[in-house]
Symmetry: C2
Subunit: 354 residues, 2 copies
C-alpha cells in the first residue's frame, strides 16, 4: 500500500479546501492513509507531516502497521493531544463523520484555530481503487464466493437459518477472512421478503425461497454477494419473479461504465422492474460502493447524479420483495472500467433448486 | 422488554434537561427504546409520543420488532423527515454521539427550534440493567463460555490463530449467537503482548502463551471473556506473571460493589500489579460497561470517579504485556450488587497448560 502517495493526494485536496491540515477521526480513513487497524486513534495530516496519535494498547501494533506517518503513544486522550496540536494552525479541517462530542472537544482545545467541517474528503480519494486495493477486493470476492459454494451444497429443509449462516462464516474464516463484512443474511420463506433480515432460529421449510447475502473482510477489504436459492422446485410465479430480478440485475451491470451516472445504473434496473408492474416491491437502491468498508460512496440510487469514475468498485443488487410470499435478490461486485463493468463475482446467478 | 417504561424514564431525563424532545440517532439507543434492530432509522421521543422513522427496506422488520413507538416508513431521508418535525418544538435535544453531518442537517431543517447537544442521556439509562437485560447478558455470557470450552480442548501447536478464532465463532453461532461481539482475539507467543491483536495466519508454536478474548451477541446482548492458556508447560516466569494477573483480577472483582468508584476498582488491580514492579506493562484500563454494546459506560479507569450503581454490568480484565515475550489477561463479566460482585463468567481462570 502506497501510503505516501495517498497522503500526497490528500494534501492536494486540503490545499484546494484551503485548510492547513486535516484531523482524521474515521478509522477506515486512518487505515487507508496510514495502515493502522487499531480501534482507537486519530491522524493529523498537514503539508509536511502525518502523525498518528494512539494509546499504549496499540504501541506494538502501530509500530508494525504504520508506514508514512509518525506514531505518538499517549497514556490516554489521543484526541485531546491531537486537538491541542491544532493550536499551531490558523485553519484546520475535520471530518463530517466525526461525532459531535469530538467536535466539542476540538473546539475546546484548538484555541484560535478555525475549524472547517469537510465532507467525504478522504472518502472521495477512496472512491477510485488503486491496484493493490483491487487485488485485495478481488481476493475477498473470490473467498466469499468459495464460502458460498462450500455452504450452499449442504442447504436443506430443517436446517436453521443461523446454522447456514454459521457454516458460511466458518468457511469464510477458514479461507482466511478476518471477519464477516456485515451480519450474514439467511432468510427463508416469508422472511426473505425482509431485505435485511438477519439469520434467525427459524428452520428452513420445504418448497421455499432462501436469500443468502454475505460478505467477508480479507486483508481489510470487503466483499458482498447475494444469491437466491429455492428448496424444492420453484413455482411458476417464483421463477417468473426471479427472472425479472436477474434481467434487471444484468441490465444494471450493462449500464455500468466510466462516466455513467449512478442514477442511470439504478434506472436500468428499476425501469425494467417497474415495467413488469413490480416497481413498488423494489424497496431499496441498486447498489453501493465497496472497499475498506462494505458500504462506501457512491449510492446507486434514483437521485444520485455522481458520475462513476474508472476504478470505482460497486455492488449491483436489485431485488423484489413480496410481503407474505418471499424475496429475490442477486448481487455482484463489479469494477467500473472505461468501456463497461468488470464483474468480479464469478458464482453462477441462476436460481438453484434443491 | 418494557419499552414504555424505558421511554418514560427517558422523559423524566428530558424534563430535567429542559428539552421538549430527543432525536435519538444512536442505533443501540434506538433498539433500547423501541426494539428496532435495523441499521437505518431515527427515533423522536417527546412528552407524549415516540416515533420511529425508517425506510422501505425495514417496513416488515419494524412492524415486527417495534413496541411502544409509532413507525413511519419513508422512501428515503428518514433523518430529514425527523428533523423537519423538530420545527414544532422550541427546544430539542440531540445526541452527542451523532455525527457532524447529522447535526448540520438538523440545523438546516429544524427552523427556529433550538438544538441542545446532550451527552449520554440514553446511555445513562442503559447503565443499570433491568431483569430482562440481565437475563439476556447471563445467557450471552454462558454461551460464550461454552464456545470457549468447546474450542479450547482442540487447541494445539500448528493450528493457525485464525483457525482457532473460526472455531470459536462457529461454536458461538451454532449455540445461537447472532454474531461475535467484536473481532475475536487469538494471539500466540509474542503476538499475545498486543492486547488487541486480531487473530492472524500465524501458526501457534510449541511452548507459548495464547490469549483468547472473545464475545458473542445473543438476543442483542453482548458477552466478553478472556482466558490465557499455555501450549506446553509454562516457564516459571510465565507462571509467576500469570499469577500476578489472576490475583489482580480477583482483587478488582472483590472491590466491586454498589457505590464503589470505578477508579477504586481499577486501583485494586493496578496497585497490586505495580507493587510487583510490573505497572508499566499494564497498558489499559481494568474494564468497561457491557450490555447492548460490548463497550458501554463506565470505564474502569484511573480517573473515572463514577460510582457504580447496583445493576450495572462490567468487565474486569487486567493484563500484563511484556514486549517480545508475551501477554497475560483474564476477563470476566460481573453484575454490580449492593454488597459485592456477582460473577457471571463461570469458566475456570487457572492457566491451562496443554
Amino acid at each position: 500500500m502506497d501510503h505516501p502517495a495517498r497522503l500526497d493526494a490528500l494534501r492536494l485536496r486540503l490545499a484546494a479546501e484551503r485548510v492547513e491540515c486535516l484531523l482524521v477521526t474515521s478509522l477506515p480513513n486512518i487505515f487507508y492513509l496510514s495502515g493502522f487497524t487499531g480501534s482507537a486513534g486519530v491522524l493529523l495530516v498537514d503539508e509536511g507531516r502525518s502523525v498518528l496519535f494512539t494509546d499504549g494498547r496499540y504501541a506494538l501494533q502501530a509500530a508494525e502497521e504504520v508506514h508514512g506517518s509518525r506514531v505518538v503513544i499517549l497514556r490516554s486522550g489521543a484526541l485531546k493531544a491531537a486537538a491541542r496540536r491544532l493550536g499551531r494552525y490558523r485553519c484546520a479541517g475535520f471530518e463530517a463523520s466525526a461525532d459531535c462530542r469530538t467536535w466539542r472537544q476540538l473546539r475546546e482545545q484548538a484555541g484560535a484555530c478555525r475549524l472547517r467541517l469537510l465532507e467525504n474528503v478522504v472518502e472521495q480519494l477512496r472512491l477510485v481503487k488503486d491496484d493493490d486495493e483491487l487485488e485485495r477486493i478481488r481476493r475477498s470476492v473470490a473467498l466469499n464466493s468459495r464460502a458460498f459454494q462450500q455452504t450452499v451444497k449442504r442447504i436443506r429443509p430443517g436446517l436453521r437459518e443461523v446454522e447456514v449462516a454459521a457454516e458460511l462464516e466458518y468457511h469464510m474464516r477458514l479461507l482466511g477472512a478476518e471477519r464477516p463484512a456485515f451480519e450474514t443474511v439467511v432468510a427463508g420463506g416469508p422472511r426473505s421478503a425482509m431485505p435485511h433480515a438477519r439469520a434467525s432460529a427459524r428452520r428452513l421449510g420445504e418448497n421455499e425461497v432462501v436469500v443468502l447475502d454475505h460478505g467477508a473482510i480479507l486483508s481489510n477489504y470487503a466483499s458482498d454477494m447475494t444469491r437466491t436459492v429455492h428448496l424444492g422446485a420453484a413455482s411458476r410465479r417464483a421463477r417468473a419473479l426471479f427472472r425479472v430480478v436477474l434481467e434487471a440485475q444484468q441490465r444494471a451491470v450493462a449500464a455500468v461504465r466510466a462516466g455513467a451516472a449512478c442514477s442511470a445504473v439504478d434506472r436500468a434496473a428499476r425501469e425494467y422492474i417497474s415495467r413488469r408492474g413490480l416497481g413498488r416491491y423494489f424497496t431499496h437502491s441498486t447498489g453501493h460502493g465497496l472497499g475498506i468498508e462494505v458500504h462506501e460512496i457512491p449510492r446507486l440510487a434514483r437521485r444520485d447524479k455522481t458520475r462513476l469514475p474508472a476504478g470505482a468498485v460497486i455492488t449491483i443488487e436489485p431485488g423484489i420483495y413480496i410481503p407474505g410470499m418471499g424475496g429475490f435478490r442477486i448481487e455482484d461486485v463489479v469494477v467500473v472500467r472505461e468501456r463497461g463493468a468488470e464483474v468480479l463475482t464469478t458464482t453462477p446467478r441462476a436460481l438453484l433448486e434443491f
